[in-house]
C-alpha cells in the first residue's frame, strides 16, 4: 500500500464559518480501495470535511485532491465522488428504478445502456424486484439501499457515506454493517464513512481518523486506535477507560517509572519519552477482580463495590478505590447464573498486568 498514490489527498484543509473554525488544518491521505472512517463526537467537523470532499462546502484553506485532480472550484456534479446522505435523500416522486437511473439520465447516458446498469445496481443491493415501487412503499433499510444503488451506479472513484446507519434500528444496523463491508469488497470502490459510533468505525473501517473540535487526533487501524491510543481523548472516545493521574519519575530500560497516588512508584512499559504530569489508563475488560491481594508482578488497587450493572452477556462492576478514583471492571457472565457473585459494599482488589497499561502523555 505504501507505493500506491492516495485516491484522496487532504492537505492542511481548514474551514471557517464566520468566527467558528469547523475544520482546522486537517491532512489525511486515503488509499485506493480503503474503507476509511471519519470518527468523532457531534460538532467535531467530520461532516463538514465530507461535504468539502463532495463539493457542497468550499475550503477556507488548504487543498483537496481526488484521483490526482485538484478539487478547488470543481462543482459537485463534476467530481468523481458520490454520496449517500444521512436522510438518504431518495427522490420521493420517482420510482426506485427512476431514482437509480437519475444520475445516468442527467449526464446523457444512452437509454439502451441505462436499463442494464440500473438492474445491475439494484441486484447489488438485493432490490431486483422493487424497481417499480415508490419510496414511500419502502422501509428505511430499503430506502437506504436505493440511495446506495443510486450512488454506485455512477461508478464513482470514492463513495462518501454520511452517518448511513444512524436512522436504522439496532438489529438492522448490525446487518447493514456487514452488508456495507461486503459491498465494498465486491465493488472495490474506496469508501469514506462519517460516523459518531465507535463500534461502527471499529467493525467496518480499515483505518479511521478520530476528530475532535476540528482537529484530527489520530489516524490508525481500529486495533491500534483501541490498544494504542495516542491521547486521553482517543482512549476515552473509543471504548471505556479507567484513568489515573500520574507523575513521571524516571525511565528504566523500556519502562516508564511513574508515581501514582495509592500505588506508589510503578513501572509501565512505554516507548518514547514522557515527562511531568500524565495519565495512565487501563481498559475495564483487561482488569481482574479478587478478594485477596494479588501477587507480585501486577498492578493493583483496593476498592469497595459501589454498583453492579448487568448487561446479560457481561456485567460492569463499579469500584470506589481508596484514593477516591472510580474504576470499572468488566466481567464476562460465561456461566449460567442469575445472581451476581459480588455484591454492593464488598471490598475487592482490582488488578491488571503492567503491559495493559495505556500511557497517555496528552
Amino acid at each position: 500500500m505504501t507505493d500506491a498514490k492516495p485516491i484522496i489527498s487532504i492537505r492542511n484543509v481548514t474551514k471557517n464559518f464566520g468566527r467558528v473554525t469547523a475544520v482546522d488544518n486537517v491532512s489525511i491521505d486515503v488509499m485506493p480501495g480503503e474503507f476509511f472512517a471519519l470518527l468523532g463526537p457531534s460538532g467535531c467537523g467530520k461532516t463538514t470535511l465530507l461535504r468539502m470532499l463532495a463539493g457542497f462546502e468550499t475550503t477556507s484553506g488548504g487543498e483537496i485532491e481526488i484521483d490526482g485532480q485538484a478539487m478547488l472550484g470543481v462543482p459537485p456534479n463534476k467530481r468523481p465522488v458520490n454520496m449517500v446522505f444521512q436522510s438518504y435523500a431518495v427522490f420521493p416522486h420517482m420510482t426506485v428504478f427512476d431514482n437509480v437511473a437519475y444520475g445516468l439520465k442527467v449526464t446523457g447516458v444512452p437509454k439502451a445502456e441505462i436499463t442494464g446498469q440500473v438492474e445491475e445496481a439494484l441486484s447489488l443491493v438485493h432490490l431486483e424486484d422493487y424497481g417499480r415501487r415508490k419510496p414511500d412503499q419502502l422501509s428505511g433499510g430499503q430506502r437506504q439501499r436505493v440511495a446506495l444503488a443510486r450512488a454506485l451506479v455512477k461508478k464513482p472513484k470514492v463513495l462518501l457515506l454520511d452517518e448511513p446507519l444512524s436512522a436504522l434500528d439496532a438489529k438492522l444496523r448490525e446487518a447493514m454493517r456487514l452488508e456495507l463491508v461486503r459491498l465494498q469488497h465486491s465493488v472495490g470502490i474506496t469508501f469514506v464513512i462519517v460516523t459518531h459510533d465507535q463500534d461502527e468505525a471499529l467493525s467496518m473501517a480499515d483505518r479511521a481518523a478520530v476528530m475532535d473540535r476540528g482537529v484530527v487526533r489520530q489516524i490508525a487501524p481500529p486495533g491500534e486506535l483501541y490498544e494504542h491510543p495516542n491521547s486521553l481523548f482517543v482512549a476515552d472516545f473509543i471504548g471505556k477507560v479507567n484513568m489515573l493521574e500520574a507523575k513521571v519519575a524516571g525511565q528504566s530500560g523500556g519502562d516508564l517509572v511513574v508515581e501514582v497516588e495509592g500505588m506508589g512508584r510503578i513501572a509501565v512499559p512505554h516507548e518514547g519519552a514522557a515527562a511531568g504530569n500524565i495519565s495512565i489508563a487501563v481498559r475495564p475488560e483487561k482488569t481482574l477482580l479478587s478478594a485477596d491481594k494479588p501477587g507480585e508482578g501486577v498492578l493493583a488497587l483496593k476498592g469497595k463495590i459501589s454498583d453492579v450493572a448487568y448487561y446479560g452477556n457481561e456485567s460492569h462492576i463499579l469500584l470506589d478505590t481508596e484514593t477516591g478514583v472510580q474504576f470499572t471492571s468488566t466481567v464476562q457472565n460465561d456461566a449460567r447464573r442469575t445472581e451476581s457473585s459480588v455484591a454492593i459494599g464488598d471490598d475487592l482488589w482490582i488488578s491488571w498486568a503492567p503491559g495493559n497499561t495505556l500511557v497517555l502523555a496528552e
Binding site: F85, S87, A89, P92, T107, P135
Partner: protein, 277 residues
Amino acid sequence: MTNKVARRRRDVNPLEYLKRPWMWLTLFVCFVFLYFPIVTLVAFSFNSYKRAFVWKGFSLQWYEKALNNQSLHEAFLNSMHVAGVSTVVSTALGAMLGLALYRYWFPWKGTYEGIAHLPIVIPEICMAVAMVVFFWSVGIELSLTTVIVSHIAFTIPFVAVVIRARMAGFDTSLEEASRDLGASEWQTFWHVTFPYMIPGLVAGALMAFVLSLDDFVITFFTAGVGDNTFPVKIYSMLRFSVTPEVNAASTVLIVITLSLTLVAMIMQSRWTKGRGQ
C-alpha cells in the same frame, strides 16, 4: 341520581367533545349564522314568483333568464378572462417570490418580505384607490387590462405564501443529491425542486383564481366604463331590481367557487397521501 350523572360523565373521555350537548348547540348556532343567508339565496333562485322573498313554487325560469341575459354572459366571460390571465401570471411570479424568500438571505430581507406581503393585510378599498390613483397619474386608461394588472398585484403574495409553506417541508439534501449525481442546477430545479412544488402551485393557482373571480372592490374601481365582471354585473342588476335572476347568477358563482375549492382540497389530500413523508 348523582351516581347516574357521575357514570355518564365517566363515559365521556376528556377530549370527546362531540359527546357533549353544549358542543352540538354551539355547532348548530354557528352553522345557522354562517349558512342561512346563503341557503335562502340559493333556495329563492328556484322561486317561480318575481319578488325575491315570497315563495310561490319551484321553477328554473330565472336560470333560463340569466342564461339568456347577454350582458351577464359577457360579464361572465370577462371574469373568466381576467381570472385566467391574472392566475397564470401571478402563479409564476408568486412562485418565484416564494422560492426566493424560502431559499435566499439578503440584506433587508425582513423589510422586503413585509412589503411584499402587504396586499394581504391592507384594506381592499385602500388597495383599490391606490391602484386607480396610480393608473390615473401614469395616464393609463382604465380597462379590463388594468383590472388584470391589479388582480395580479394583489394575488401574488397569496401564491408566495402558499409556495413558501410548501417549501418549508422540503429536504434540501434532495437538491444536493441531484447535484451529486451529476445534474446541473437547471436540471436539478426541473427534475427535483419543481415536482415538489406542484401541489403548492396548484393550490396557489386555484386560490388566485378564486380571489380574482370573486373580487368586487378592486375590480369595481379599476374597470373601465362598461367593462363588467360577473360580481360587478350582479351588483348593478341588484341596483335596478331585486329579482330571483340575481339569485340565480349568484348561485352559479357560488357553485363555481365551491367546486374549484373542492378540487384544490382533493388534489392537496391526494398529494399528501401519495408522498408518505
